[in-house]
Symmetry: C2
Subunit: 189 residues, 2 copies
DNA sequence: CGGTCTCTTGACGGAGTTCAAAGCTAGTGG
DNA sequence: CCACTAGCTTTGAACTCCGTCAAGAGACCG
């Protein structure tokens, strides 16, 4: 567990064992069961979750009462509702475990404390945030440039292992198409 | 000019006059004429531009040869192509001045240097990047939840001054609708 | 083996695009 | 200061993608 986060952090900054221990002592481990919620709508997202193992989804409920998935996250990704976490405002989204998922989590207060005590962490999270931003911009690009059929083939090629771990109606939701239409697309190709 | 950037920086971190001078000395001012390019497709985006005064747009050319605007930026915003700037890869987008625009710019090397010399800047840009990420997530939300008509009224209410400064076909492009259809929407309401 | 959850099929409708043409507006040069 | 032109906006008709609704077929789980 400590090894995994150490390897992850060292992709971005050099931290010695003492620093790792220091940070690690501030992280809390927790396992969520399948379908258990990490965050519910209208509550402030108090934590940033680092996924050690598992799959989670972020979604909101639209006007018609349908779930719209905005993000999946797996091993070695962070899961949080950024706006809610940073600004301490109520979230409009849910975060839920799709499979049994083990995380390490950090509260905002702890993170702010770590920032002032360890400038290296400031750098680490500056880089992580940059990567998140880039990932988000890329996602927007895909939706901007591709029709639904292309999005599906793109997603299917890029993340084949996902297709197996996640039910099809969730993939449809993430791709912003109806399950019915996705079914049609699969038939056509 | 120095006052403006000082006020902007001090919204996020406390910097004394010596620090401001230090940073300021690393920034280069430049004025771009209307329609002049800050960045062209297939070139690496070497700079991060802080807009002192003006309006710029980021766009790419789609398969059919149409310009698709992904971002506007005005006074006190940063303009760059994040992915290209951070990863030093060729950009798929253009950045262009819509009006005469004065900027302060920073190269990646300079910025990296400033980070190591001034941990406060690491914090500053960590926060700026968080804000950009949140703004981007919000934009995605708007496009996910609203039909084109709602997007137009939302944009028209939220940023009325924009509607005046930017031609309508650019607004249509940003809203991801055709100029023809935007014209129809305006008539209907 | 019965029920709930998931996936498929088909008919229909509507939001938004495409293409072509005409009407406007504003900037430019004479 | 007017006339011309290029760029911008509007109009309308035909078409397309994709959503909605309803119903049935599998598939998984207790």
């Amino acid at each position: 567990m400590k090894e995994q986060i150490k390897r992850y952090f060292n992709r971005y900054v050099d931290l010695n064992d003492i620093e790792i221990d220091m940070i690690y002592s501030k992280l809390t481990a927790k396992t969520f069961q399948k379908k258990e919620f990490l965050l519910k709508e209208n509550t402030v997202c108090r934590y940033n979750y680092f996924i050690l193992k598992g799959v989670i989804r972020s979604f909101y409920i639209d006007k018609k009462g349908h779930e719209k998935i905005t993000q999946f996250a797996i091993d070695n990704w962070w899961a949080t509702n950024m706006e809610s976490f940073i600004n301490e405002t109520p979230s409009t989204q849910y975060i839920q475990a799709i499979e049994e998922t083990t995380v390490l989590y950090l509260s905002k207060e702890t993170l702010d404390l770590l920032y002032t005590e360890h400038p290296k962490l400031e750098r680490l999270f500056r880089i992580i945030t940059e990567n998140m931003l880039i990932a988000n911009l890329r996602k927007s690009d895909v939706f901007l440039q591709m029709r639904s059929k292309e999005r599906y083939t793109f997603f299917a090629e890029k993340l084949p292992n996902f297709i197996q771990r996640v039910p099809q109606y969730m993939i449809a939701s993430y791709l912003e198409i109806t399950p019915e239409y996705l079914s049609e697309l699969k038939k056509a190709k």
